[in-house]
């Protein structure tokens, strides 16, 4: 299997994008966006994660098995969040006798 190697320029650009995203996260923290503060911060974090995974960890040019590993990990994170929210978002939705 031949390994694809990105150019130095690509790595530098990705690095610059990561730094910009970090600065953006910091800047957004000083602006009161109400409940959207978390949404924006998380959106930037997901973009950074994708850049690292796709370029620095070479997932973009990896085998299907490697991509499956990444998808599996994301799916498990999804299970953790979804099932926890199953509790958090429905607290008080059904009445408890005696309360």
């Amino acid at each position: 299997m031949s390994e694809h190697i990105d150019s130095v320029k690509t790595y530098v650009l990705v690095f610059a994008a990561l730094i910009c995203a970090t600065l953006a996260t910091t800047a957004v923290a000083f602006v009161d966006l109400g409940p959207f503060s978390v949404v924006v911060a998380l959106a930037i974090a997901v973009c950074k994660m994708l850049l690292v995974a796709l370029f620095f960890m070479h997932v973009r040019h990896s085998t299907k098995l490697t991509r499956l590993v990444l998808l599996g990990a994301l799916m498990w994170l999804g299970i953790l969040i979804l099932m926890t929210l199953t509790d958090f978002s429905t607290r008080g939705a059904l009445g408890v006798p005696g309360r």
Binding site: W76, I79, M83, T86, D87, F88, R91, A93, L94
Partner: protein
């Protein structure tokens, strides 16, 4: 003559000598033995804590230790047994030793990483040991918040750091196994020719890799709140204590399957060998391991039915919990079907396998009681729960561990263990275990809460029975410790395949050569193909 030949042949034990040759070894077999020595020490340490607990519970009064000391005893018992014995027990010892051999590999995919895993367990263990010696920790092995983050004035940080470090040992072992199974199988060793022990370890490794990082993150969050008062779990700081329970049980429920799945793998090997039949429904048993691993991640909320978790979530988790019973039952029924018309012999490993099936079934069925919302509310935090999980973890995992240890002892050491003593100890452990934990089901159902050392007098008879059982159990565990060490020097010399088993590990000498096989094996048959073994026996004969 045979003795002389065995002593002259080079194998992994005599290939090099000296402490350095062990502490810097990259041989998976030696690392397996390093793990075996380490977890045995932790087992007896955890057992010592259990002994003190059971002695205290002989009388209804708290007359041996104070409440604070009792809290520390059950915490340190749980932490030691779960994180430093049960989690690494079968995978890190028998798995490390035999997984590469069973797929015809010379070693694991990452030998250095394997050695690092052992060091991480030792370092993590030392941290927790330091915490125990310095004064102990009293939060329970579950570290529930906000007590662990804001109120406990015991050694929470050192213990949590120890578990955090040991967690990476578990992750790296799982990663190593996954890569090894994918990349290092011998020619002809297809996925569906792999022994079920390997399938079980594949499923276990998935849990270790997917679940353990969440425990690590959770412990870090506990440390952040405890050290820097960052509000995550403590309501006084704006946190949510139930969030801790979600994160904790996301790992810690599947962790039970890290303990029990490898034991199930061991039982599959033993049942097949000692009934001289292929496992009935091989594919179902193989996939049931993977489905237990996956379903195990969807049920954690059944530990939280009374935690203020929403009623709706409780119903969802209750419903999903019942599903785990399906693959578990597939295994038990298929093992039983394997016995049908088999040529059964009652060697010690088989006694342990039978013990596993009986005790795991009891533990599993009482798990269904606990998955039921209504019953769980009644028995939450009682001895019913204590009995249930000991039937799974001790009755299941340790029976599997001891069964596997006896099964593969001749291969690991080149010596046979004394069969009579071994059968006696297996029987003693089975009786002692039931005497210890069955009364606890009744205690719990009658309302005896866990984690209390003062109790009403009407519970004393059952507690005395339980303590008497624990004494028998302790004797049962000591006997193998003595005769296995004795056998290293005085045991009968073991031949390559003393049980007439089919796996690749039995096709090489006992103890195995440094690189497992003189030539890379080529696999041409399905797993558990006894026709081939019989043909070989006839040819040799």
């Amino acid at each position: 003559m045979i003795t002389a030949a065995v002593q002259e042949r080079e194998h992994y034990l005599n290939a090099s000598y000296g402490i350095k040759s062990w502490l810097l070894t990259k041989d998976h077999k030696r690392i397996g033995l390093l793990y075996l020595a380490t977890i045995t020490l932790f087992f007896f340490l955890g057992g010592a804590f259990a002994t003190l607990i059971r002695i205290e519970l002989l009388t209804p009064q708290g007359d041996l230790v104070s409440s604070e000391t009792y809290n520390k005893l059950f915490t340190m018992h749980g932490v030691t047994m779960i994180f430093f014995f049960l989690i690494p027990s079968i995978p890190a010892t028998l798995g490390n030793f035999f997984l590469p051999m069973m797929i015809g590999a010379r070693d694991l995919a990452f030998p250095r990483l394997n050695l690092l895993s052992w060091y991480l367990l030792v370092v993590g263990g030392l941290f927790s040991l330091f915490a125990m010696l310095a004064g102990g920790v009293d939060t329970g092995w579950t570290f529930y918040t906000p007590y662990s983050t804001s109120y406990s004035n015991t050694w929470v940080i050192a213990t949590a750091v120890g578990i955090f470090i040991a967690g990476f040992s578990s992750i790296l072992t799982g990663l190593n196994f996954i890569v090894t199974i994918h990349r290092m199988r011998a020619p002809g060793m297809t996925w569906f020719r792999m022994p079920l022990f390997v399938w079980a370890h594949y499923a276990t490794s998935l849990i270790q890799v997917l679940g353990t990082p969440v425990l690590a993150v959770t412990l870090l969050l506990v440390l952040c709140e405890r050290l820097f008062h960052i509000g995550i779990f403590d309501p006084a700081l704006g946190g949510d204590p139930v969030l801790f329970q979600h994160l904790f049980w996301f790992y810690s429920h599947p962790a039970v399957y890290i303990m029990i799945l490898p034991a199930m793998g061991v039982v599959s090997e033993i049942i097949s060998t000692f009934s001289r039949k292929p496992i009935f429904g091989y594919g179902f048993v193989a996939f049931s391991s993977v489905s237990i691993a996956v379903l195990g991640f969807l049920v954690w909320g059944h530990h939280m039915f009374v935690s203020t978790q929403s009623v709706y979530a409780g119903m969802v988790f209750s419903f999903l919990s019942y599903f785990v019973a399906i693959p578990s039952a597939i295994k038990v029924f298929n093992w039983t079907a394997t016995l049908y018309k088999g040529s059964i012999s009652f060697a010690t490993p088989m006694l342990y396998a039978f013990g596993f099936i009986g005790l795991f079934t009891m533990g599993g069925l009482t798990g269904l009681f606990l998955a039921c919302l209504g019953i769980d509310v009644h028995v939450t935090d009682t001895y019913f729960v204590v009995a249930h999980f000991h039937y799974i973890m001790v009755g299941g995992a340790i029976m599997g561990f001891l069964g596997g240890l006896h099964f593969w002892w001749p291969k690991m050491t080149g010596r046979m263990y004394p069969e009579g003593w071994a059968k006696l100890s297996a029987l003693t452990i089975f009786l002692g275990f039931n005497l210890t934990f069955f009364p606890q089901f009744i205690l719990g159902y009658l309302g005896m809460p866990r984690r209390y050392h003062v109790y009403p007098e009407e519970f004393q008879v059952l507690h005395v029975l339980s303590t008497a059982g624990a004494s028998v159990l302790a004797v049962g565990y000591m006997i193998p410790m003595i005769y296995l060490i004795w056998s290293l020097r005085y045991g009968q010399i073991a031949v390559a395949n003393p049980w007439g088993a089919t796996g690749l590990e039995w096709k090489t000498a006992s103890p195995p050569p440094l690189h497992n096989f003189d030539e890379t094996p080529i696999v041409t048959h399905e797993a558990y193909d006894y026709t081939t073994v019989m043909e070989e026996v006839i040819e040799v004969g």
